[in-house]
Amino acid sequence: MHCDQDGAMLVQYLDGELSADQASALQQHIGECPRCAAEVSELIGLKHSLRAARSRFTPTIEFRRKIERQIAKPRHNWWRTRFVSALATAAVFLVIAAVLWMQRSRHTDSLGEVADLHVEALASANPVDVVSTDRHTVKPWFQSKIPFSFNIPELTGTEFSLLGGRLVYLHQQPGAQLIFNLRKHEISVLIFQKTTEISNALPAGSRTEKRNSFTVATEDSQQLRFVIIGDADANEMQKLAQLIKIANE
């Protein structure tokens, strides 16, 4: 008896890729055709032997650990992760704002550089060096890294929260950049010692100005100069500036 059964169908049948109708028709044929029955039993044998390939190669424990560490590494910094994702939506906008800003102000004053620092932090995969909502953690972290100290205001009862901080440089002067959150806005507070370089670079006194999409507020204490920059509205920015000023008086 001649059999014109398509061999590929038998393979698909065993791989469970045929429709119910196709499968039952084929099943019936197999029951009547010794050639196809033999073919199917061979294919089943093949499938069976291929199980040997299943766990033929096993990774070493060392390698497993390595991958686990690689994956788990960012997890301990879950604040950072959350921070980044909160920023994701704003990122495109920020980059555009940054380009506009840089075009206009890169060569005109240091506030442009401050804005760069702000945008850089927000656009970076690692926006903060020290991730903490606790001012008592953030402050000591800076102590060994910058030649001055500062106070972080108590934020309880305000809508601001601290996300973390990082070490920055402006005109080769080390400074602290703290990042605060206010609802959907991120605000940077940059703190520098009043060196000659900084005094020349950053305008003195308290003032608030609008620069493209950012509001920039400046404040002074006896030793320090603060620049508060972000996209929150001017009142909120001034409020944070005041809190910083009071904490450092």
Partner: protein, 176 residues
Amino acid sequence: MDTEFFEQLALPLFDSLYNLAHWLTGNRAEAEDLVQETYTKALRGFKSFQEGTNIRAWMFRILRNTFLTSRSGLMARNTSWLEDEDTDMDLTIAHTDTPEALLLRQENQQTIVDALESLPAQFREIILLCEVEEFSYREIAEILSLPIGTVMSRLYRAKHALRHALKAPRRAQHAL
């Protein structure tokens, strides 16, 4: 992006990713590099990973694409990759082969491993995805970026070639 979520989904695939990587590259060092790069890329791309997407197929796809651009992948392609999907191998089914074929038993694991290793990389790969990882044809099509019809015909030819390879040593022995 939630790395904890990624860890939960992707880490259980570690053993099978490694197994396939070793099969594809042929040695431990390169398999480790391949798996590591796969995880790195996956972690980086996890942001764009759509929830509800088949993460297994997605991870294997990354592994496979990474393999293709690796040194051993390029070598495999140059030496044993059959580029032509329509290569007319003898596709008439082995209806004429005697069921001496029942030699395909578990007892001879080394034979199957050797036979698998003797196959062109492209055939080995698709057989592993189908039989070892038990991906559906649709998933294999996704992993290999191929139309499903090509998956079917390649798989069929691959299994045919594997059976041929399994019989070859036996025949040679008989000839002695």
